[in-house]
Structure formats: structure tokens, C-alpha cells
């Protein structure tokens, strides 16, 4: 039951002792049995003793019993003979354990659809028809052809590739998959764009699709960019592939204006969809959670990560087709939901990791270790890493150099720690990506090897070299050498630093009282933290006050009422209505925010903040909006339907116009929710008045995921869908008492005239572009005014600035369930700060050499953080807790008394010297 589950877990035998295996690979090398590799989509071979892929965690080998010669015939034992640590154990048994937990999170994921059942695609018959996942492996550096793009039949580089969309999605004849898989349009564009980069002398890439569904943040721009790069987009669903003599493939299709075409391609990639595996369905049954008819786990829009069984949560593609960012959001959200009721037990089973005491390296001659990363082909594809390695060996103080495929992988980290000890290294340089993302990881490795983590520097040879000088490999290699030389010069001078300890204020601030903000505040309160909920309006609710139903058909108003009441009665929430943010001081763990409300100004202390300020519906300037009251926006339609001002029974004809202000040069993004909203509204009209003529004018119907079922239903109920091109926009005109909508039918190439009682505009969702709030919290906005996350795929609710998180429409337009999930995710992330009693601040702070200080006071005047003051002798001292390490004091002192740890004048001078 919820809060107290006993889970029976079976660990299958792997026939290799994980404690003894050092992943040297000797066993696999000697194993005589070859098996198609699942990881490379069976395009190449692995052995019967193997690791699934090079970055596997933990990196330990295992025997595939079904393919092992010893298990079949009783002899061989080659692996046992060659294992240097005696790790192979043929007697290994399965282990059954009972684990007691309070909550369960199901994240068993999806299975890529197997297109063999389609006879017309001949996937299992034609060598050069591959799935998108196979193509992904073909492009990968660790794939069967080491990243060389070749087709399977003759291993020659293809000159022409076709992608076929919706294979196993939006299809009920060969498979029972009426839903849209939501991710295939984007991955097909990505593959096409990457394939073009991989091609040595040009590639003709064509994507055959029904609707291009690039609805995510920055996806539409990516789509436009791909068009610019020459990727062809053909709106047609392919019904047959035939093979010609040289194993190339012939495709027949019909163009938009009805012309039948035949085209030959060297290769065809099937953009196969997502489905739930049979085993996963069985797992769901054992867990006792309900599934949708599509086999995705059933959840509600207001509780997106809760399954039907209390205490069992769900995230990722198991709960519906979705991409990486949303899966990551849901993962954090599920962690938040699962921890909510268990917050009292937080930390009770924790044991502190042991960090070995750092060695004293003061006075020792520098012994620099240089690790040059290939980053797959990200670096090695441009920079000659071997040459960089050889060059690094010649540099002063360098004691050790090696090259890694992925320096950041767990096994390389373990090895690095060992090398540091074995080689007695006391300064480390990693030439790889950017310190902004990877410095903490490598610093941890230094610590585990007994080195102070500040004895480290990075040479940014990926983001600032190989990625930006792709066409100039020689110069990029020279630059990589220069950057390594500069980093080694700096590293040689680095000294160990100590960190400052700070307490954390266990309170949070949530800005914005819409659905996202209220959910965030409630979850924070439930986890035991005082939460200040700041709303600029006089009442809570935001845009949801004007929304009728969700895509799953749940009514919004009753939920909103209940949510608001819970917020108002929650004792841990301090509500600040009609209140604005005036100023923000401080930093992670210790923010001091000035609020301006009806009662005057107030300073609130908090350790973390969630920005959930939402977005707004754009007021259209086109289609007679504002001139004729029968032209309405979506929110106006919903309000009208809820109040009864709009009565479907009295409406004879309604026309929905999509993309009003979205996907335009001025706003080059998709507003994501409007297609679904139009379809669910169209159904509402049809339901209450089957005779009502409902027409939807669209560019691409973007009813992603299970929303596709609504679109299907609408078509079956007689809703008319007419596509228009962006250069032939519909026109709305007054005609007598009514309205007439004119639209160019692209198949007939003629204008259609539709009489309408009501025209509903899918007006774009626009950001508040709140630059002042962004500046106060020191977080970025993108060019459309959405708050910019730290990493679009992997850190979708974080900012680069610690302690500040985001949720809801402030990030990008999204439906309610995604907003709620993001709110829960932001709470999860905020709690990682708030649940700590203290934090450690970086050691890169200023210090004053008092022998040189004359007490002139320039430094404490210029310090932007008021971190410097005069001591009793009138000389400057730094308050390390307040110092943010900007170095302004160092640059302004005439006597050279201050210096900045980690960025000393000597460090920078050494880099300048090494540059030439």
C-alpha cells in the first residue's frame, strides 16, 4: 500500500562477479561466439560475454547464457581462462530480494515499433530499408561503421535518402496505433540534417510526411533551418517501396497538387514510432496500474505523474509518447510526487560519502596530467587528437598525457583517479568540452583521488574549437594545441583552495499564481518548506480561469477552484497577492527579495525561487479581430462557452483558423496547444449540435501523442479540415449579416468560400518578456522572451544560476499536464537546495595581501557585493561569504594588494604568455 510497499526483485545471474571485473575486455576478445549486437540494432556483432555499450554504468561484463557455448555444450570456458581477476563464475545464481519502499516510480520506457509487419515497406526483405534507430547507429561514432554514413547492402555512401514518417503511428490497419508518436518528426529532421553533414559530396535528403509536428521549444526554428539547408519536405504518405537492380529503392508518391511521381533513393529510413512492449504491459499488471487502450499508463492532466494506484508514479514515454526534455521533467516531477508524503523520512537512510583527505602539494614541483577527449567524433572528427596528445607531452611540467573516447564517462573517471595516484599527478588539465558544464564532474574525480579540486583546468577544444571551426581541421588542431598549452601554463601555477561554508534558508519563493505556481507552492509546502507565493493580480488562477477543458476532457474550473482553496488553506504558504518583485539580493540558499504589495514593501528571505509567471494570449490584429465581435480568440471562445454566451445549438457554422501569429517570421515558434484546443472545441460544437458545420483551417495539424485520437474523432464526426499555405492565408470578410471565410484549397487550387457565424482564431501564445525579473534573478531570456533553461534537453527546469528554477508557460507554451509536471519538477530541483542545512561556496574568492595594502579604500568602494571592509588597522579584509570572486578589487588596486584565488594575476599572465 501507499507509503509501505514490499517489492520483490529478481536479479538475474550475469555469471561475472561485479566486484572482481575490471572491464579490461580480455574475455570478450577471446570469446569465440559472435552474436548480433542489440545496441547497434543488429547491424554488427558482439560476443556472448559482453557489455551492452561502452558507456554502460556500471561498466561490468556479463554472459549471455542463451548464446554461450559453455552453457550449450559444456565446454569452452575461454573467458574464464583469460580473465585476469578470476571474475567469471558459471555457477552464478539468480538472487531474490524483498525491498521495502514508500513509493514506486515506473519508468520502463517504450519499445521502438517493429516495421516488419508492414508488407509494403519490405523492411525485413530490402537491405537498404532501415529504421530510424538503425540509421542513428549508422551515424554514431560507436556504431557499426564508426560513424561513416554507408548503406548496408554495399557499404557505399548514399547520395539520396528518403525518410518515411508515421511508420507505426497514426495507423490502425497494420497495427493498432492510432496515436502520434510525437518525437519522429523532430528526429527525422535531425537525422536528415546530420546526414547532410556526414555526406562527403552532398546528400539529397527528403522527408515524406503527413503533418510536420515541430511543436516543441525551438523545434520550428530547427525545421526552418533544415529547409534552408536543403532538406526536402514532401507531404505524402508512401504506400509502396520497390527494390531495383542495385538494391536502391523506388518510391511512388503523389504530390500535393495530385501529380504521381516515381523517385529512386539509395536508402529509405522508416521513422518508426513508439509503443509499449508486451513485457512492460505485464509489469504494469503486476504493479496494478491502469493502462490506456494504447497501453500507455493512464494518468490525469492535473496529476500527470500519478498512476491509478496511490503511491505508484510514472514518468517518461511509459506515460505517453514524449521526447527527452519532457521525460526529464517528468522524472523530476515523479521524484517530487513520490517524495511528497515521505518527506518526514528524508535523509534517514543516507550515509555520507567519504572524501579522502587532500594531499598537501604545496612546494611540490608541478606534475601535470593532460587528458585529451575525443568526445566520440565531436572533437576527433575535426581536431587531430593524436597530434594534440603528442604535442602535450612536449610541454613543460607535463608528466602524463592520454586520449579518451569520452573523458567524462564513468569508467574513464575511475581510471583517471587511478592514474592520478599511480603517476603522482598534482595538477590536471582536461582538454574537452566546457568547464561551465563539466568542471564539477572532473573536480569530483580529483577529490576522489585525493587532490584538491582547484588544481584543475580545462581547455575548451569542443564548444570553442572543433564545433566552430568544422571546415578548418588543421587550424582547429593548432588552436587545440594552443589552448592546451595555455591551460597547462595556468595549471602549473594553481594552488589548492579552501571552500566557504554557508547556511541555507529553508524557505522558497514562487513567482506567479497560475496553475504552475500554485502546484509548485503546494508541493513545496507539502515537503515542509515555508513558501511565499507572489501573484501580481488580485486573485489566483492565471490563464486557467479562462480555460474550459483539458485534452483528456477534464473540466478545468472545478479543479482550479479546489486548487485555489488548497493553496489558501495551506499553513506553509504565505500568499502575496497584488504584489510585485522590487529587488532581489543574495544568491542560492540566501536570497533576500523585496516585495511591493498593498501593505507596502517587505523583504523576504528564501533559499530558492521558482519563476512561473506564465504567458499571455496575443491580441490578433488580423482576420477582423476587434472589428467584428463574432471573431474570437481561443480563450474568448472558452469563456463564452462556459458562460453560455456562445451556444453551439444556435451556431450553424464555425470556422477555426490556426497559426494566427505563430510560425510567422515575427514569432517563429509553434504555440503547441492550439491545434488540440481547436479540435476539442470543434468536437464540443459537433456534440451539442451535429448539424453545425465546423471547419478547421490549418497549416499542419499538431495533435501530438494521444491527442491524435481527438483529431481522428473530429474527422469521423464530420469536422472539415482544410489546409492552407502560409503564402495563401485565409481571408475573413463581412458578408451581409454574416461572415465569409475564403481559403485556397491546395488540391483543387481554387478558393473555397465558407459562411460562418463564428470565427475562432488560434492566436499565438506570447511571453511576458519580463526582462527586469530576469535581470533581478540574473537569468536569461531567449529572443522570443521565454526563460532560457540551463540545458534544453537535460536541465529543462534549471537555470545556469543556482537556486532559481522555472515552470509553466514562462518557459514555453504547453498544455496543463506539462505545466503541472514542470511545477513538480521545479520543486524537486529546489528541494535539492532547500533540504541541505549548509552549502559550500566556491574557493575562488579574493584575498588581500595586507603588506601591500595602504588602506586607500578603493577596493571596498568598487566591490559590487560589499564584501570588503576595513579592519581595525584600517586595512582591507575580504568577507569570503559575500565575495563572488568577480575580481573587480584586484583590477582596481594600485598597490596590487588584492588577488583572486583561481584567477590570480600570475595565472592570467601565464595564459597570455603561453598564447603566443
Amino acid at each position: 500500500m501507499e507509503g509501505d510497499f514490499t517489492v520483490k526483485v529478481v536479479s538475474h545471474p550475469r555469471y561475472v562477479d561485479m566486484a572482481k571485473c575490471i572491464a579490461c575486455g580480455a574475455c570478450s576478445e577471446k570469446c569465440p561466439k559472435k552474436v548480433p549486437s542489440e545496441y547497434n540494432e543488429r547491424l554488427d556483432k558482439r560476443k556472448a560475454i559482453y557489455v551492452r555499450y561502452a558507456q554502460a554504468v556500471p561498466l561490468k561484463y556479463g554472459i549471455d547464457k542463451d548464446n554461450c557455448i559453455f552453457f550449450a555444450k559444456g565446454k569452452c570456458k575461454a573467458c574464464e581462462k583469460h580473465c585476469p581477476t578470476g571474475a567469471v563464475n558459471y555457477e552464478d545464481q539468480e538472487v531474490r530480494r524483498d525491498i521495502k519502499v514508500g513509493s514506486i516510480i515506473a519508468s520502463a520506457g517504450f519499445k521502438p515499433f517493429d516495421p516488419s509487419i508492414y508488407l509494403q515497406y519490405s523492411y525485413s526483405k530490402f537491405a537498404n530499408v532501415v529504421t530510424a534507430l538503425e540509421f542513428e547507429r549508422i551515424l554514431a561514432a560507436s556504431g557499426p561503421w564508426m560513424g561513416h554514413m554507408v548503406r548496408p547492402s554495399d557499404e557505399k555512401e548514399p547520395k539520396k535518402i528518403a525518410w518515411l514518417q508515421c511508420v507505426g503511428s497514426r495507423e490502425v490497419n497494420a497495427c493498432d496505433h492510432p496515436y502520434c508518436s510525437a518525437v519522429c518528426c523532430m528526429y527525422a529532421i535531425k537525422e536528415a540534417a546530420l546526414a547532410k553533414e556526414h555526406a562527403h559530396d552532398g546528400l539529397d535528403a527528403a522527408i515524406f510526411y503527413m503533418d510536420m509536428r515541430t511543436f516543441g521549444k525551438d523545434f520550428e526554428k530547427y525545421y526552418e533551418k533544415a529547409k534552408g539547408k536543403g532538406v526536402r519536405f514532401v507531404r505524402s504518405r508512401i504506400h509502396t517501396i520497390t527494390e531495383v537492380a542495385d538494391k536502391s529503392l523506388q518510391i511512388e508518391y503523389v504530390t500535393e497538387n495530385g501529380v504521381a511521381m516515381t523517385e529512386e533513393f539509395d536508402m529509405v529510413v522508416l521513422s518508426h514510432g513508439l509503443e509499449i512492449a508486451k513485457e512492460t504491459v505485464e509489469l504494469a499488471q503486476r504493479l496494478g496500474i491502469d493502462l490506456m487502450p494504447s497501453n500507455f499508463v493512464k494518468s490525469g492532466s492535473f496529476t500527470p505523474v500519478a498512476s491509478s494506484r496511490p503511491g505508484v508514479y510514472v514518468c517518461g514515454a511509459l506515460a505517453g509518447p514524449k521526447d527527452i526534455p519532457l521525460s526529464v521533467v517528468e522524472a523530476s516531477a515523479a521524484a517530487c510526487a513520490a517524495a511528497g508524503k515521505l518527506s518526514g523520512a528524508r535523509g534517514t537512510l543516507v550515509s555520507e560519502p567519504e572524501i579522502p583527505k587532500a594531499l598537501d602539494v604545496k612546494g611540490d614541483a608541478p606534475r601535470v596530467g593532460v587528458f585529451v577527449c575525443s568526445c566520440g567524433i565531436n572533437i576527433a572528427g575535426v581536431v587531430d587528437v593524436k597530434a594534440v596528445v603528442e604535442y602535450a607531452k612536449t610541454l613543460p611540467n607535463v608528466a602524463y598525457v592520454e586520449n579518451n573516447l569520452f573523458t567524462c564517462s564513468q569508467d574513464t573517471q575511475d581510471k583517471m583517479a587511478q592514474v592520478i595516484k599511480d603517476q603522482g599527478l598534482n595538477r590536471i588539465v582536461v582538454a574537452a568540452c566546457t568547464p561551465r558544464t563539466h568542471e564539477p564532474l572532473f573536480q569530483e574525480t580529483l577529490q576522489s583521488a585525493g587532490l584538491n579540486k582547484y588544481l584543475f583546468d580545462m581547455a575548451n577544444i569542443r564548444n570553442q574549437d572543433s564545433w566552430v571551426h568544422t571546415g578548418e581541421p588543421e587550424q582547429a588542431t593548432e588552436k587545440a594545441k594552443d589552448l592546451v598549452r595555455m591551460a597547462v601554463a595556468k595549471a602549473s601555477l594553481l594552488q589548492p583552495l579552501n571552500e566557504v561554508q554557508l547556511s541555507v534558508m529553508p524557505a522558497a519563493m514562487v513567482i506567479g499564481g497560475g496553475i504552475s505556481g500554485m502546484n509548485a507552492a503546494l508541493e513545496l509546502a507539502r515537503q515542509g518548506f515555508t513558501t511565499h507565493l507572489v501573484e501580481r493580480d488580485a486573485e489566483l488562477g492565471g490563464n486557467a480561469r479562462l480555460l474550459r477543458i483539458t485534452a483528456k476532457g477534464e473540466e478545468v474550473a472545478p479543479y482550479l477552484k479546489e486548487l485555489t482553496e488548497r493553496v489558501k488553506s495551506e499553513s506553509n504558504i504565505v500568499l502575496h497577492l497584488s504584489t510585485a518583485i522590487k529587488n532581489v539580493d543574495g544568491f542560492v540558499g540566501n536570497f533576500k527579495t523585496t516585495l511591493a504589495g498593498p501593505g507596502g514593501e517587505e523583504v523576504v528571505e528564501h533559499g530558492a525561487a521558482v519563476i512561473a509567471i506564465g504567458a499571455a494570449e496575443r491580441r490578433p490584429t488580423e482576420y477582423l479581430y476587434g472589428e467584428d465581435s463574432r471573431v474570437k480568440t481561443h480563450l474568448e471562445l472558452d469563456s463564452g462557452l462556459m458562460s453560455g454566451a456562445i451556444d453551439p445549438k444556435k451556431t450553424n457554422s464555425v470556422v477555426f483558423v490556426q497559426c494566427v501569429g505563430s510560425r510567422e517570421p515575427e514569432r517563429p515558434y509553434c504555440s503547441k496547444v492550439c491545434c488540440t484546443h481547436s479540435v476539442e472545441s470543434a468536437l464540443h460544437f459537433k456534440e451539442h449540435n451535429p448539424d453545425c458545420q465546423v471547419t478547421v483551417l490549418y497549416r499542419d495539424m499538431r495533435t501530438f501523442g494521444e491527442r491524435e485520437l481527438l483529431y481522428k474523432e473530429a474527422r469521423s464526426k464530420g469536422v472539415l479540415f482544410v489546409r492552407y499555405g502560409v503564402d495563401h492565408k485565409p481571408r475573413v470578410a463581412k458578408a451581409g449579416d454574416g461572415l465569409t471565410v475564403t481559403v485556397r484549397d491546395h488540391i483543387l487550387d481554387r478558393d473555397l468560400l465558407i459562411d460562418a457565424d463564428l470565427v475562432v482564431l488560434a492566436s499565438a501564445i506570447v511571453s511576458h518578456k519580463d526582462e527586469s525579473l530576469a535581470q533581478m534573478f540574473k537569468v536569461p531570456l531567449d529572443e522570443d522572451g521565454w526563460f532560457l533553461e540551463a540545458h534544453q534537453k537535460l536541465r529543462p527546469v534549471d537555470f545556469a544560476t543556482d537556486g532559481v528554477f522555472m515552470a509553466g508557460l514562462a518557459h514555453y507554451p504547453k498544455p496543463i499536464e506539462e505545466a503541472v509536471a514542470q511545477a513538480q519538477a521545479a520543486v524537486s530541483r529546489a528541494v535539492t537546495v532547500l533540504s541541505r542545512k549548509e552549502m559550500w561556496l566556491p574557493g575562488t574568492v579574493a584575498f588581500i595581501d595586507q603588506k601591500k595594502c595602504v588602506g586607500c579604500g578603493v577596493c571596498w568602494t568598487v566591490c559590487p557585493y560589499q564584501a570588503i571592509a576595513a579592519d581595525d588597522k584600517g586595512l582591507a579584509v575580504v568577507n569570503e561569504a559575500l565575495c563572488k570572486g568577480c575580481g573587480t578589487c584586484v583590477a582596481s588596486c594600485r598597490s596590487g594588494a588584492p588577488n583572486l584565488r583561481g584567477f590570480t594575476t600570475q595565472d592570467v599572465m601565464a595564459q597570455i604568455e603561453a598564447m603566443l
Binding site: 566552430v468 536569461p780 531570456l781 531567449d782 529572443e783 532560457l788 545556469a800 568598487v862 573587480t888 583590477a891 582596481s892
Partner: protein
């Protein structure tokens, strides 16, 4: 703030020391402005390229520093 003022003064000083103003460039780019970064690199590189190799300053100016 202080940095901006300091740079304004420095630019004059550089000119006095014989460094063409085009060789020393300042800009302000936020971490989200990748495009602006790229454009600035291009324009800075072109400006310096147009001036040709630096000749005037390669002498000991430690007293100035």
C-alpha cells in the same frame, strides 16, 4: 560599471602608446546571444586583419603597466 569606465580611459592610453584603437575592442554579450558572439568575432577579426600585424607596441612598457 567600473570596468566600462576603465576601458574608456584605457583606449585613450593605448592610442597614446601607438596602438591603433581598432586593435582593442570591447563588447557586451549575454550568455544567450550566441549569434551576436559569432558576429562580433567576425567583425573583431576583420578589424584587426585590416590593420595588419601589430608593430608599435612590441617594446618594454613595463613602466606603463
Amino acid at each position: 560599471m567600473f570596468a566600462r569606465r576603465r576601458f574608456a580611459v584605457l583606449k585613450n592610453l593605448m592610442e597614446y602608446a601607438g596602438i591603433e584603437p581598432g586593435r582593442l575592442q570591447f563588447s557586451w554579450i549575454s550568455s544567450a546571444e550566441a549569434q551576436k558572439f559569432q558576429q562580433t568575432v567576425v567583425s573583431v577579426t576583420e578589424a584587426v586583419k585590416a590593420l595588419g600585424p601589430a608593430k608599435h607596441m612590441i617594446k618594454d612598457i613595463r613602466k606603463v603597466a
